[in-house]
Each structure stands twice: as C-alpha cells, then as structure tokens.
C-alpha cells in the first residue's frame, strides 16, 4: 500500500506523519507540494497538522483553496483514502470534503495534552483494527478544535455513524459539540480528527494506541 503526504507552508507535523507512515508501512510516503496539481497513484493521502498559512483568515481556509487540494478532492472522489490530522482536519472541512466547522477552543486556550478517545465507529477502513467502543489514548495540540455543525448536519452525521472518535471520560479539551473528535465522510474514505495518532505509534512515544489506525488504513497486519 502506498501513501502520500501533503506539504503546505506552516505545517509542522509533516515529519511526524512521514516518520509514522514510513515506520508502519516500511516505505517512505511520496510528498506533494501545495502547488502540485497531480498526486501520484497512492492508496492513502495524509494531510498533517500545523498552522498552514499562519492560520490567517480561518484555520485551514487558505490551504483548502490551494491547487493540491483540488487534486486531493479528485482522488477522494475516486475512493482514495484521505486522513487529515489537526490542521489537516481543519483543511478538509474548509475544503468541503467533511461537514461542519472547527472553531476556537471554548476555553480560548491552546491545549497540549493527552486525551482519551472512544472508537464510536469501528466499521471504517481507518478504525477496523479497533473494537467498537474501545477507549484509546491520544495526544492533542490545538487552539481551534471545537467541532461545530448546525442541528440538521449534526443529526445527519450522528445518524449515519459518521462520528468515528469521541473524547471520552471527561477529556473533551475544546468544547466540541457531542464530544466529537473525528468524523468520516458519507462514502467512508475521508477521515478528519483533531488528535494526533501519528504521535503514539511506538513504545518510545509512551504507547502505540494510534498505530492500529494506520495499520487498518494501509491493510498491514498488526
């Protein structure tokens, strides 16, 4: 299984994502720059975290309008798996590839800590190696992770099982509606989440709770 990582000015978790994909799959992912209009033939495209374009206008707003994101949207429409982590999640909602919006944390503070996540849908390509309802640990580091959707959109997202991760055990760090930490599109191939599973993939990280996400997506045996 091949992967690619999207690079944009201002991202700072790109190396972490590249390291995680390399360690787990055994192959270095291809990298695509913001101005690239074509993405190589891959099975998984990852948009890392950071502060693309300095979070100007709105988090992810400028990045979502770059040429590379049109290429990501074309690949996503063809069924290629896409994962956006943190700023990557913000970019996916700004690009219209996922519903809702990510707003300033209700505390107004940047949060950098470990949270607990419940797997609320284990029937996706990304979460198939977890048990339904399983609680895992994951780091978060963000200022704008407060997921919001209007009542109609929220009812649809909840009703269709598109909420994949929820903050558990009172660890919601940002005030997101219904404790939503990550959602998937209707087709089940585009996932966005605020937590950083790529930062918890080996014992040196203090745990490997995030590893199964990439193993599931890349079809790699545990």
């Amino acid at each position: 299984m091949k992967s690619a990582v999207v690079l944009l000015p201002g991202l700072n978790r790109d190396r972490d994502m590249i390291a995680a994909l390399t360690k787990i799959s055994g192959h270095a992912p291809a990298t695509v720059w913001q101005t690239d209009t074509e993405i190589p033939d891959v099975d998984l495209i990852a948009i890392p975290g950071g502060f693309s374009f300095g979070d100007y206008l709105r988090c992810g707003a400028i990045a979502a309008r770059m040429p590379v994101m049109r290429a990501v949207a074309e690949k996503a429409a063809k069924g290629v798996m896409v994962i956006g982590v943190c700023n990557g999640f913000q970019i996916l909602v700004e690009a219209g590839l996922l519903p809702g919006a990510l707003m300033r944390n209700s505390s107004l503070k940047f949060v950098c800590r470990q949270v607990k996540l419940q797997i609320t849908n284990a029937n996706t390509m990304f979460t198939r190696r977890y048990q339904p309802g399983q609680i895992i640990r994951s780091p978060v580091a963000h200022h704008d992770g407060n997921y919001f959707a209007d009542a109609e959109t929220l009812a649809r997202v909840e009703g269709e099982g598109q909420v994949v991760f929820r903050y558990a055990e009172g660890t919601n760090p940002n005030g997101s509606i219904n404790d939503i930490a990550g959602i998937i599109n209707e087709q089940g191939n585009v996932l966005g989440l605020m937590p950083h599973p790529e930062n918890l993939i080996e014992t040196a990280h203090g745990g490997s709770d995030g590893r199964a996400l990439f193993e599931g997506a890349l079809g790699i045996a545990a």
Binding site: R65, P99, S107, D150, G175
Partner: protein, 80 residues
C-alpha cells in the same frame, strides 16, 4: 474603481468564545450593562471593475468561496 466593505459575522446560535471573553473584559473595565458582544471581521476591498452590479456579484462570490465560512458565518457587502 469600486471600493467595498465586507462584514463577516457569526451566525446566530454559533457559540463565540472570543466575543464572550471581550464581553467579560468590558465588564471588568467598569462598563456596566454591556449585553452580548459578538466578534466579526471586516474586509475593505478595491476592485478595478466599474460596473456596480458586476462588482457586487463578484464580491458575493468572493465571500462564498473564501472570505466567509457559510457553515458558521453570515456576510454583508456594502459598496462605499
């Protein structure tokens, strides 16, 4: 040349923690009776276009496609 001012505000019902913090700070300064404060954005845009209706249509398209996130924000366009 046409000049325009675009105002982007949060929709009703969308929580605005920054507005809330400003509201509290105003109370702290002794401004009594401050009700709700909502924070928004203002863009002043200059256009080479001279046709007003075409300029308005362009400005609305700019709002829909970039300047506002219509999931959470409303916008208004005023030619100045």
């Amino acid at each position: 040349m046409i000049k325009a001012r675009i105002t982007v505000t949060l929709k009703n019902g969308v929580l605005d923690p920054q507005g809330k913090a400003i509201e509290h700070a105003l109370s702290g300064l002794g401004f009594d009776g401050v009700g709700t404060v909502r924070q928004g954005k203002v863009f002043d845009v200059e256009l080479a276009e001279t046709d007003k209706s075409k300029a308005e249509a362009d400005l609305k398209a700019m709002c829909d496609r970039l300047l506002a996130n219509t999931v959470i924000e409303n916008y208004s366009v005023t030619l100045t």
